[in-house]
């Protein structure tokens, strides 16, 4: 027989363990990382070690950090531009929320136009970021600022079986606020509560999958399938 030597799982197991312990020289560590990026099995081996070794911290006493530490962290992260939220991670960031292969298969298209529905085409509109992969979920949103109505048109895609799609508005550093459940097809008309209307521009719309009837907790509980930021056109 010719061909490659049989796959040596023990060798990879050891390598993953050495990597997790930080015992590999820099070049081998980089090589391992490059392989790990391509090989799910290797990631699983690494994850196994990381879980195991994390147990070595179980006996370490917890110590509350000084109260000032959180303020220093916040200053590091938020002080430079207090009004600017960390930009939403966007499509790439959502990948893990969506999970696996679905990540690449879902996209949302949001077009929010203040004048669209009020017959005032001269008004500047709002558009949201577009993330199109294969477009298996596409939504077009348009916002009637006068009436505080948000129209969500289903262009493509459905909720996972037995689940509902719930739309959320995330504004500034606020918690996501539910705007409602989306119907299975057609166009949804969602009434945006008065206190939320000022947050539409610059806000983020996100769609999560939830139990039928919507999130039982008032916060997203399922995976976030897609999101789009509302910005002036």
């Amino acid at each position: 027989m010719t061909g490659q030597p049989p796959y040596d799982e023990d060798a990879d197991r050891i390598l993953a363990g050495e990597y997790a312990l930080g015992l590999l020289p820099v070049d081998e560590a980089s090589e391992f990382e490059a392989r790990m990026a391509r090989e799910p099995d290797l990631r699983a081996l690494y994850a196994g070690w990381a879980e195991g070794f994390a147990g070595l911290t179980d006996g370490i006493p917890e110590v509350a950090p000084p109260a000032a530490l959180k303020a220093r962290i916040d200053a590091d992260l938020f002080a430079a531009s207090p009004s600017v939220r960390r930009p939403f991670a966007g499509w790439r960031g959502l990948g893990w929320l969506v999970g696996g292969a679905v990540a690449a298969a879902v996209a949302v298209l949001l077009v929010v136009n203040a004048g669209l529905l009020t017959g005032e085409p001269e008004l500047p509109g709002y558009t949201a970021s577009i993330a199109a992969e294969d477009g298996s979920l596409m939504l077009a949103a348009s916002y009637d600022a006068d009436g505080g109505l948000l129209y969500i048109e289903r262009l493509a895609g459905t909720a996972p079986t037995g689940r509902a799609l719930e739309l959320w508005l995330i504004a500034g550093g606020n918690e996501p606020v539910s705007l409602g459940i989306l119907p299975d097809s057609g166009t949804a008309r969602l009434n945006v509560a008065e206190e939320l209307r000022a947050q539409i521009n610059g806000g983020l719309l996100a769609v999560s999958d939830e139990p039928p009837g919507g999130s039982p907790t008032g916060a997203p509980t399922g995976t976030v399938l897609a999101s789009g930021k509302i910005t002036p056109a």
């Binding site: 050891i14 015992l23 917890e62 509350a64 962290i73 992260l77 509980t221």
Partner: protein, 179 residues
């Protein structure tokens, strides 16, 4: 905090929710600060590192799960790696340890199994099955950031012997952990 609660907090942190981040901090900072203190044995440095750790957590929350770690392990790994990095720099300007919790932009594997805490709890028992010196070597690497060279010096054996020891220990450990 259950596994699910923590995942929720990390998910919401990834979405830029400061309130979720604050909650995550409240729930986990004593654990992670304890790890920093243990590794560095220096309060000032531990505080600096803990600060760095939470900055990383905020910035990388959207990449949580790339490697299929459970949420607590992900947090512990960031804390441990950041602390070890600092320790190594302090020790002898060794190159840093930018380990896998930083791994970016790789699509998650199809069904990466998330190992659960059972595996974490087992480690002590499994180390107990190793010869005491060998278990000690694993601990010194993980919590002390020691390299093969450090370990060889400590146990006064040739480098290659050290490597062989440790690799064998890893196989035994793995076998025990997955039993």
């Amino acid at each position: 905090m259950t596994h699910e609660d923590l995942e929720q907090l990390i998910a919401r942190t990834a979405m830029g929710e400061r309130a979720a981040f604050a909650d995550l901090y409240m729930q986990t900072s004593a654990k992670l600060f304890g790890i920093c203190l243990r590794v560095l044995d220096d309060r000032t440095e531990a505080e600096e590192v803990a600060q760095e750790v939470y900055v990383k957590i905020w910035r990388r929350a959207d990449r949580y799960r790339v490697n299929g770690l459970s949420p607590m392990t992900w947090l512990i790994t960031i804390a441990r790696n950041t602390a070890i990095d600092r320790l190594r720099r302090r020790r002898d300007a060794q190159p840093g340890l930018e380990l896998a919790e930083t791994l970016a932009d790789t699509a998650p594997g199809p069904e990466e199994q998330v190992m659960q805490s059972g595996e974490r709890a087992q480690i002590a028992a499994c180390l107990g099955e190793l010869n005491a010196n060998r278990a000690e070597a694993v601990r010194r690497a993980y919590l002390g950031g020691e390299t093969y060279a450090d370990l060889a010096a400590h146990f006064d054996v040739p480098l290659n012997t050290m490597r062989t020891w440790l690799r064998r220990s890893l196989l035994k450990l793995r076998e025990c952990l997955t039993r």
